[in-house]
């Protein structure tokens, strides 16, 4: 899918709401409708043979939910776990996944004209999972297709069988 088509998809629906969060110095935005809840970080149960950014699994009211540290996934310089560390619980189609971020900033509505196509750049993020860039004054928001990002094979969240 070309960048312009992707932007088209996004913009046809008019203004959309995004939950924004920080990873190190970068600010990201994800579709608010994919977010189930936000909770504090609690140490998960480690799962053997998982990639380093999968911290393990936690008990979310009786459901076993894997926890992905986005800071480790995106190669941030540091990943501390303190009382401000936040886990965003995502509800993606039929899976529930938690992502660890430095902090949650805001829920903001982005008008279509505030969205810019992201240029092709070399980064740890699969460019297909970047919907575009949102500009808010002097802030730049990286809008993620979180569903796509989480179901990518290199996330290791889905087994080879499914």
């Amino acid at each position: 899918m070309g960048m312009m088509e992707k932007l088209d998809d996004m913009t046809t629906g008019g203004a959309r709401e995004y939950l924004t969060f920080r990873l190190d110095q970068e600010e990201y935005g994800i579709d608010i409708l994919k977010v189930q809840e936000i909770r504090g970080y609690e140490p998960p149960t480690r799962v053997a043979n998982a990639p380093g950014f999968i911290k393990g699994v936690v008990n979310l009211r009786g459901t076993i939910v894997p926890i992905v540290d986005m800071r480790l996934k995106f190669n941030c310089s540091k990943a501390d776990y303190n009382s401000f560390t936040v886990v965003i619980i995502l509800n993606l189609r039929n899976r529930i996944v938690g992502i660890v971020v430095d902090s949650v900033s805001d829920v903001m509505e982005l008008p279509p004209d505030a969205l810019k196509a992201a240029p092709e750049i070399d980064s740890v993020i699969d460019s297909a999972a970047v919907l575009g860039l949102g500009s808010l004054g002097d802030r730049m928001l990286i809008l993620l297709d979180i569903e796509r990002l989480m179901s990518a094979p290199d996330m290791g969240l889905v087994g080879p069988a499914d």
């Binding site: 998809d9 996004m10 046809t12 629906g13 959309r16 579709d31 409708l33 998960p44 149960t45 480690r46 799962v47 053997a48 043979n49 998982a50 393990g56 699994v57 936690v58 008990n59 009211r61 009786g62 459901t63 076993i64 939910v65 894997p66 899976r95 529930i96 996944v97 919907l131 569903e147 290791g156 969240l157 889905v158 087994g159 069988a161 499914d162």
Partner: protein, 717 residues
């Protein structure tokens, strides 16, 4: 992203529709099961109205649903069943074994058709034309019963009144019929009949024939419907008494004036009273049934019989025909709830229990004198959460009768196929078992029951020769024993032969000796490919089976035991945990982490000194436990457990057994035994090697449950 939402909206719409389907499939399945049960219990001689009405209602409900959802093949088949059942409940036919057989087969066919629809119409549809034809033949068959072939009517100038021969059925169930209508005052009425064929798809084809006489219309019809159905349709336009249905004569059908037509003179007087409604009971008469009573009618009346039925035959037919009064349906005492909702409830209650445990722990430090009310409140909470948990868990429990009820039918078919006589006895049907387990235990049990019938019970002659009664007995019983359910399959057949099994085992090169205990010998039949049946039948004897049964039951954390006495019978006991959702676990500590071992696979545990462990080829470790060397698996290495405290090390060994082999797991400490709620790790994550699931500990943390089978297999490679 707007599209994403549209997508989800559309998906929602599909989901709703399929939900309705689902309800229909469930209900249809239940109705077919119920019908099957009632058919099996039906006493052919004394069938009462209530039973027959009940069976009819089942077929009717399935038909209605199938038609609503557009499953025309099911609707057609059940419609035929309904027609036959309708005649049965009206006592126009006497139920017989052939009918029960064909209805049972039709129920099976309907099930398979429904299953195909449920699977998205994939695969070949089961052909039903033959069944439809057989049912139709049985439904019309009543008129074929020797009812004194109308001696008075035969010579009468109206051949139409002779009891009609059954319409010759073609292979497809299509029949060629000649239908005469009239005499009518207003012939237009008859002209409406061809329109019926045009309007109702699948009814068949109609072609007008030359009118044999004034006031009479004749048609040639090709149809698969029964005469009864045709009459029912035609009566929208023409009085039943004026319709005559005949099989199409094989040669020159339309032109044969002597067949099926009234002579003109006979028609003349009849025309005088053409449309007067016949003084007969209002309910639809059976197919040709209208003329059934002709023998009783005076010959003189025969000429007018077509137009004005004599009261005599009608009265003769008005045998005890109680109105089909709707029998009060039992009030529904159950509700249908999606299993996911129940699971959600179980999860929430689990959370509540954890919260309650946390509160209890925190309140222990409080001074009882000061916080008396709070503490008594917490004690109440404790009790209530426990009760709540128990009640919620019991929602998933269903009685064993659900499983048992399928066996009488299977045994009936099987026994008659094998030419054996078998009584089936069930005990403890009310014993409750987790729904998930019930679904999984059905197949292994079916296999065991089939085995008993095929291998266990002898032929009637053999039984008599052995001094037993001709009829064998297979008993299926269920009971609770501690935290498990025990299901037994017993038969009084020939039992297992120790010598035969040992010989067979030697043939197959298994390591056996004559000193083995009986129990050890019986366990041999669980070896893959082991069968002592002399003849391989299509029922059993191929040797696939007992090993699969054992494996399936082991997968449910259950065990199988055999007890047998040659010449007297055999007993297979299956012991299962009450629920799959809860497991007895042993928690072990490795480093800072906690893992759960299924208690059913733990054999023993002991402390070892490092020197007791020897290595082979600098790799695999072995430990000697009572003259047996067992491979050692260090959980620390398998799960890459990080070590912070280097003074501690794994020095506790736990012997676990799975798939018949034993391995030793090396752990730091044994933490205790507890019941754990088994959770699926794969619903949000993926399969983790050597882990079968996860559970939530009392402190709310997740612990992984070890897959001992995988660990044992790992040690083999």
């Amino acid at each position: 992203m707007a599209e994403t939402h549209q997508d989800s909206g559309a998906a929602g719409g599909d989901f709703d529709l399929s939900q309705f389907y689902q309800i229909f499939f469930e209900e249809a399945g239940e109705n077919l099961d119920l019908m099957e049960q009632m058919l099996l219990n039906l006493n052919l001689e004394t069938a009462d109205d209530e039973e027959l009405n009940g069976i009819f209602r089942c077929a009717h409900s399935v038909k209605g649903g199938a038609a609503t959802f557009g499953f025309s093949d099911v609707a057609e088949l059940t419609h035929q069943m309904e027609s036959l059942l309708d005649r049965l409940r009206r006592h126009e036919l006497q139920p017989n074994a052939a009918m029960v057989d064909v209805l049972l087969e039709s129920a099976d066919a309907s099930r398979s058709l429904l299953a195909r629809h449920q699977a998205g119409d994939e695969g070949e549809a089961m052909p039903t034309a033959d069944l439809v034809r057989r049912i139709a033949a049985l439904a019309s068959g009543a008129t074929l019963e020797p009812k004194a072939p109308a001696p008075a009517a035969a010579p009468a100038p109206a051949p139409a009144v002779a009891a009609p021969a059954p319409a010759p059925a073609t292979a497809s169930g299509q029949r060629s019929l000649q239908i005469t209508v009239g005499p009518l005052e207003r012939l237009e009425q008859a002209d409406a009949i061809p329109e019926l064929f045009r309007d109702i798809p699948g009814l068949g084809t109609i072609r007008a024939l030359d009118s044999p006489r004034k006031g009479v219309r004749a048609f040639a019809v090709e149809t698969a419907s029964t005469d009864d159905d045709l009459l029912d349709l035609f009566t929208f336009h023409v009085a039943r008494g004026q319709i005559d249905i005949q099989a199409m004569p094989a040669a020159a059908p339309e032109k044969d004036p002597g067949y099926g037509f009234f002579d003109a003179p006979a028609a003349a007087p009849a025309a005088a009273a053409p449309l007067a409604p016949a003084p007969r009971p209002a309910e639809p008469a059976a197919g040709f049934g209208f003329f059934d009573g002709a023998p009783g009618a005076p010959a003189a009346a025969a000429s007018t019989a077509a137009a004005e039925p004599a009261p005599a035959p009608a009265a003769a037919k008005a045998a005890p025909r109680p109105a089909a009064a709707p029998v009060a349906q039992p009030e529904a005492a159950t509700i249908r709830v999606a299993i996911s909702k129940v699971d959600q409830l179980i999860n929430l209650v689990g959370e509540l229990v954890i919260t309650q445990a946390m509160l209890a722990q925190n309140s222990r430090a409080l001074d009882p004198a000061v916080y008396q009310q709070l503490l008594s409140g917490l004690a109440d909470l404790d009790r209530n959460t426990r009760d709540l948990q128990e009640s919620v868990m019991s929602i998933r429990m269903i009685p064993m009768s659900i499983v048992f009820s399928r066996f009488p039918r299977m045994l009936r078919d099987l026994a008659s196929k094998l030419g054996k006589k078998v009584d089936f006895v069930t005990q403890g049907e009310a014993t409750e078992l987790d729904k998930g387990l019930v679904e999984k235990i059905t197949d292994p049990l079916t296999h065991l029951v089939r085995n008993s019938c095929d291998h266990g019970i002898e032929m009637p002659a053999e039984r008599l020769a052995a001094g037993k009664s001709e009829t064998g007995t297979i008993t299926l019983s269920a009971s609770h024993q501690g935290g498990s359910i025990v299901i037994e399959v017993r038969d009084d057949g020939k039992g297992l032969s120790r010598t035969k099994i040992l010989n067979k085992a030697r043939e197959r090169g298994l390591d056996v000796s004559d000193q083995m205990t009986d129990a050890e010998v019986w366990q041999l039949i669980f070896a893959p490919g082991f069968s002592t049946a002399e003849v391989v039948t299509d029922v059993s004897g191929r040797g696939v089976g007992m090993d699969v049964v054992k494996r399936n039951i082991a997968a449910l954390n259950g065990t199988v035991e055999i007890d047998s006495s040659e010449g007297y019978g055999m007993k297979v006991s299956v012991r299962l945990p009450l629920t799959l959702a809860i497991m007895d676990g042993m928690s072990v500590g490795v480093g800072e982490e906690v893992y759960i071992l299924p208690l059913s696979s733990v054999v023993e545990s002991f402390q070892v000194k490092a020197e007791a462990v020897s290595t082979v080829g600098q790799g695999s470790q072995l430990v000697k436990v009572r003259d047996e060397y067992m491979p050692v698996i260090e959980l620390e290495k398998v799960f890459q457990v990080p070590r912070f405290d280097f003074e501690k090390s794994s020095d506790i060994m736990v012997v676990v057994e799975a798939d018949g082999s034993r391995v030793v797991l090396l752990v730091d400490e044994l933490l205790g035994q507890q019941q754990v709620v088994v959770k699926n790790l794969e619903s949000n994550y993926r399969k983790v090697p050597n882990v079968s699931g996860a559970t939530i500990l009392g402190d709310g943390k997740v612990a992984l449950i070890l897959d001992t089978g995988a660990l044992v297999r790992r040690s083999r490679h």
